[in-house]
Subunit: 452 residues, 3 copies
Amino acid sequence: MIRRADSGPYTGYEQTGLPDEDAELTHVMPGSPGGEYLRRFWHPIALESEVSDIALPLRVLGEDLVLFRTLDESYGLLHRRCAHRGASLEYGKCERRGLRCCYHGWLYATDGELLEAPGEPPDTPLLRSVRQGAYPVEVNAGIVFAYLGPSAHRPAFPIYDTFDVPGTKRVPYVYHYPCNWLQIVENAMDPVHAVFLHTRNHGPSFSEAWGQLSVKEYHSADEGFYYTNARRVGDNIWVRVHHVILPNMTQAGAVLSMDGKTPRYFGRPSFTRWVVPVDNENSRAIAWANFGDRSDAQREEWMTPRTIEIIEGAEPRKRSRAEALRKPGDYEAFVSQGRITRHAKEHLATSDKGVALFRRRLRGDIRALADGSAPYSASDHRQAPIPTYAGDNVLHMPPVDGADDAALILDVSREVARIIVSANHLDCEARDTYVRAALVDLQARHAPRSRT
Amino acid sequence: MIRRADSGPYTGYEQTGLPDEDAELTHVMPGSPGGEYLRRFWHPIALESEVSDIALPLRVLGEDLVLFRTLDESYGLLHRRCAHRGASLEYGKCERRGLRCCYHGWLYATDGELLEAPGEPPDTPLLRSVRQGAYPVEVNAGIVFAYLGPSAHRPAFPIYDTFDVPGTKRVPYVYHYPCNWLQIVENAMDPVHAVFLHTRNHGPSFSEAWGQLSVKEYHSADEGFYYTNARRVGDNIWVRVHHVILPNMTQAGAVLSMDGKTPRYFGRPSFTRWVVPVDNENSRAIAWANFGDRSDAQREEWMTPRTIEIIEGAEPRKRSRAEALRKPGDYEAFVSQGRITRHAKEHLATSDKGVALFRRRLRGDIRALADGSAPYSASDHRQAPIPTYAGDNVLHMPPVDGADDAALILDVSREVARIIVSANHLDCEARDTYVRAALVDLQARHAPRSRT
Amino acid sequence: MIRRADSGPYTGYEQTGLPDEDAELTHVMPGSPGGEYLRRFWHPIALESEVSDIALPLRVLGEDLVLFRTLDESYGLLHRRCAHRGASLEYGKCERRGLRCCYHGWLYATDGELLEAPGEPPDTPLLRSVRQGAYPVEVNAGIVFAYLGPSAHRPAFPIYDTFDVPGTKRVPYVYHYPCNWLQIVENAMDPVHAVFLHTRNHGPSFSEAWGQLSVKEYHSADEGFYYTNARRVGDNIWVRVHHVILPNMTQAGAVLSMDGKTPRYFGRPSFTRWVVPVDNENSRAIAWANFGDRSDAQREEWMTPRTIEIIEGAEPRKRSRAEALRKPGDYEAFVSQGRITRHAKEHLATSDKGVALFRRRLRGDIRALADGSAPYSASDHRQAPIPTYAGDNVLHMPPVDGADDAALILDVSREVARIIVSANHLDCEARDTYVRAALVDLQARHAPRSRT
């Protein structure tokens, strides 16, 4: 039951009731339209450090699985229940060729082949007819990725430019959220929350500059969205570029160190992150925190579990409820929306433009797949590695007396975006050199005018 | 599946199965007939002492809310999820004018008005179109009350005579029960349980006099029921008056000190108590324990949390399961009926007369509201404060040789009830004087006869 | 949603989804076909040692009950909620004649008769019309049994020969499993799991001989199944006989001591065990561990709670998850199949013959009852006590050069089974003497041939 009448004081009774979930966008279980869509992409599923000599039980996209490493260091991802009599393979034994079920010793290869059924005759036809459900796996810099979709539609494993930024160290991490994936990932399209949640309301989690409302401009791309989030900081214009790659990958600029005071040209993201549904009501963010001079520096006190929690969620995760109530971070903002946010109860505003764009695109792509059109994927990229845009750009561009500074900031942010996306045809190093030079040049062209 | 055949030994199989819940009487969620009915009354929702400088999440009548206090000491009760993007306002910041959401800084007044949407343009139409669900609040002697019904039908906030008994101190308390409200409140219509649960079965929780079967008489009134519960104690007749005001307010006499041995004329209730549904399967009793010479005296050792638990439930709440099994109190009797008692499995007896009366009246009032007739409420009372009747009356009236003492007790209890309800047109002080004098007179009129 | 395509590598996506439960076989709640079937038998419901001077709440076949012992040592099993107003009788008081409800003092006899309703008039018709649901109870050697079916169909309480094996001590135990009963009991029809789960995969839980694949032969009987599980151990042939009596009783040979090296003639079971459903998703194994020279000897270090856990489940129950992952036992194999195994996802093999037989028989018996045919029960047995067959038989029979040893083992196992079941018409002692002599004779007849 829902009542609505948004007028007058004390309208609690008139607004009683919870609308249905937006199942098309939020539900991810096997067979759901959203689940089918998400299964068309590679997703990180665990950290290598979570895997030991024992199989690791996991739940991904609503499915119970085990991840294991054979004695010759291959990874396998199998349906959790043994195809024989259903015992969980988390009690299996990791051997050289695969995983052996505890109950009757059936041995499965990493691709699901039944290699041995030792209680059966040697020539048992089961060796040909039984296949344990299995998914292909890729490992990259401490993170295990898997593809859970139909084999015929498996896209290339995407390699992004940020996998190899010179002087940058990737530190993998995982972070659990007991809520739906969408309310986590769409936050990456909403830079306004940082002004309030992370700065003004309860004191700054990062630098004070984050508390200033910014000039934002969103750009659509084949792979998703990038947008600029620009502010004046003294004589500098700080243009932060965010990049959200469908369905669930996000990158942004530096977190711990960025205050807009030091010039930076083509900064790179401090995290490369995916928000992966466990099921409809649980998610895991799996990511690298990227430490280096182009993001947050490789300072010892920053490369700690606690500081990485701050990169992920602005506040440390392990703290008392009293602390969380007095200084909420992203975790509290996401999870307190309920296990699945009810969109029909929201009042989206101009500052939610990014959220609205993301939902519209997501809905369109889910429907397109249901109609037979596969989503844009890594296989559709012409370049390898795939270029990405996120990072901070801080240009020395003092305000001009008598000129409209907001217009200037908007102009500059547009130009920064244009420069960054303009060199995708170059290889990584050449592109980097070109973009940085063009940004310095952009700054220089402004200089004379500002001296008047 | 329910089988029934109540005859012969060992009929377990024939009586297997649980009938449906009596949803009409027990369900309270928004939109349910019972919930709509309950929303037509003011209910206590929290103690003032539960509210700090941080918003308090509450669930009342199946709805998630936050209660908060602004910096200038006004109380507000809002829907828990922010009207903007659904973050919980329990993480909000209490300011001078209202509560500010942690996520994007929207500021709500106590009546739900959107005062600020700081990430939006200053002239945003949202300030006019958005209303956070809100409910009006009243505070009285440490308890916060709210009205959750339609604004057009808001009754006067009820002030009862027991809110101001000279020489009496009201101590607020709250007590959680993981079960439906009805099985708690209807116990107040059942004085027989005190004979067994609180006295005979496991030894007395109060005085021994409670273990004697009493003479009971029930009276209907516009606002609910009052009844007399009368016993002989030596040369005294102890007439305890209980008052149950629909839907969920109960008052009775003294608890800790009453043994029927000391004369008392127009004693007043030792608790003023409401049983408020959290949802269908949880409830909170919110009440004042009233300490004074007319109820339980203001003795230091009685005005403790543990003793107040005994006033509420006959036994302390914090104890081991072993202790609870050996000396169950009201908590065990209520909660062990299951989350919602199944009425169709019961066998009501003559001693359940009060329970049956209460259910019948409640069902009638719920149906009447569904048919468009509002329930009797505080606004319908001619007097203010509203007179109530509960308390102990102990008259010195020795038994008369050769006379029917049970008939005498019944006569006296009728006369006590008649006297107490007869002076409602007087103001509080005058009424008190009148009733006490009339009771003393009643006792005196008996005296000569008892000396024969 | 279920997809199926058991071919090719990486078929995880194609095999996604969980089929429905096999409700006919696994569901046990009141009114379900399986529940009705199970209610036609006596089941153990608790240990005597679980019952104190306070009533014990139990859940059996999906029904909430209380088991209690009166002051004159009779046992009663009643529906948990009082027929009056539904308070739980677990808070009742055990008296000489029965159990008295805490709430209003109603007193029930062990057969459910309402003996007193002390708040009512002495001649209340309730004493005739109210019956608390009750079930008949039998106690045997520390275990309390009950019959939960229709009174008219109550079978005789079954007394088995193993209740009285000279020199054997029965030690009762109970063991909880959070899963359906069927996946526990059908394991008793699957001797192959012992080769892998208990021996080869993670090192032996018992002796090394258990790790050798055996020659198995299944036999159907009116009361269920018995089967032989035979191996060569050096110059001995070890024929282990298992006996599964419908619906849920299992017996097998020795556990702690059996290695096939010492001759044994007509060994008797080391446990007499029932797997009793609590509800669809929980079960309790209630059993005697039988210590004596014919099973596992009465050694002090074996008659401990920890060792009895090993008899029940091959590994101790109280241990860390890390230990369980490295050396799973029966508990992990049963419970990790999920609360209810999904049969439609399994791939039964030749070694699951016993499981398949058991399910087929169970389904037939459940359907037969639904069609009006009562299952075979203790009342149908001509003998008392009822003969059973389980135990170890180790015969000195060296392999014969040039002869087919597997054929010999099969022949011997058939002959052992034939001998054991052939003397059911004799009384216990005579039967024991006869079977042992016949087994010694069988061994002797082989001797000359093996010396060639």
